[in-house]
């Protein structure tokens, strides 16, 4: 195989054409649509998916985005609960079902509002759409070279309300530089 090593190097230097910039968006969109259908038929599938995807890059940013989103949803839920209490007495449904005893009906109680506003994780994707080798470098005080690789990804997180069917999606680009130690030969 050694007599082909030069040819192999030449082949590796030949770069395949890059995918169109919209490809990863199309894939993400198609996965989102597919996930919506799958979630309707198997509610457990989406959660397994959420935990099984290996998240190699940008996990800190993703976690921060998720935390902010969950905080937002909690605030939103509390506001909705309070609004539910206020409006239960005047809602047409409450007046019909309880016949003048608003707030007694299970459908308008605060706990019902809370359960209907619960979002569960429905999926996470990370599409690495560009990987660039930026060459070798030496870290401060180190004699060992490091290979600098820049990854550009598109992260998407999705939550779904199993009661109402509403879904929430956060998608953002992220970029990460990884330094890989290079062993001497």
């Amino acid at each position: 195989m050694n007599d082909f090593s030069e040819l192999e190097n030449d082949l590796r230097a030949l770069r395949p054409a890059r995918p169109s910039p919209v490809l990863f968006e199309r894939i993400e969109e198609a996965m989102g649509e597919d996930r919506k259908v799958a979630a309707d038929t198997d509610s457990g599938w989406s959660w397994r998916l959420f935990t099984s995807i290996p998240l190699r890059f940008g996990i800190g940013l993703a976690a921060a985005a998720a935390a902010v989103l969950l905080l937002f949803m909690r605030i939103n839920t509390e506001q909705t609960q309070n609004r539910g209490k206020d409006t239960a007495q005047v809602s047409p449904r409450g007046s019909e079902t309880t016949r003048g005893v608003p707030g007694v009906s299970g459908s308008t109680s605060p706990s019902a509002w809370a359960s209907s506003n619960k979002f569960v994780p429905a999926g996470a994707t990370q599409v690495v759409y560009n990987e660039r080798d930026e060459g070798l470098q030496f870290a401060d005080g180190s004699r060992r070279p490091l290979r600098r690789v820049r990854y550009q990804t598109q992260q998407t997180w999705q939550w779904r309300n199993p009661t109402t069917g509403a879904s929430l999606r956060v998608s953002y680009p992220s970029e990460e530089v990884v330094l890989i130690p290079v062993s001497g030969q």
């Binding site: 195989m1 082909f4 040819l7 192999e8 030449d10 082949l11 590796r12 230097a13 030949l14 770069r15 395949p16 054409a17 890059r18 995918p19 169109s20 490809l23 990863f24 199309r26 894939i27 198609a30 996965m31 597919d34 996930r35 799958a38 599938w45 397994r48 998916l49 099984s52 995807i53 290996p54 994707t125 690495v128 759409y129 560009n130 990987e131």
Partner: protein, 147 residues
Amino acid sequence: MGPGLLLFARQWTRSAADAEDIVQEAFVKFWRRNHKINNRALLYATVRSIALDFIRRDRRRARREATAFAEADPTIEPQFEWEDEAQSALATAVGCLPHDQREVLVLKIWNELTFSEIAGALGISQNTAASRYRYALASLKKNLQPQ
């Protein structure tokens, strides 16, 4: 992974757009079945399976592709970004390889799969994968030698 995967899909299509459709469908299928993304052999096998389905879906296209593969039509060649004449000649030579050798070469060089993974993706033995790779390199070397 993106450019290499697209290049692999590109072998069954004339246009990059068709190859992108195949890659998209493969990702969705892979995702739907909840496979682990690090199972590369299965991912490439999925791309290959969808590419073949893609061809079968359109009989007219299938006839065109079958004829093209039989004749090793050089117009169905992987797409590369070359920087000089030498790379252009190399890309053309790769495009002229027999299909079974070219797909092994594409998986080995531009997707960095092991022979074991290539065997899994293509449904062949490791020895067959390795020998097709060697034949491909030998053929390229012969074609690129100055006359």
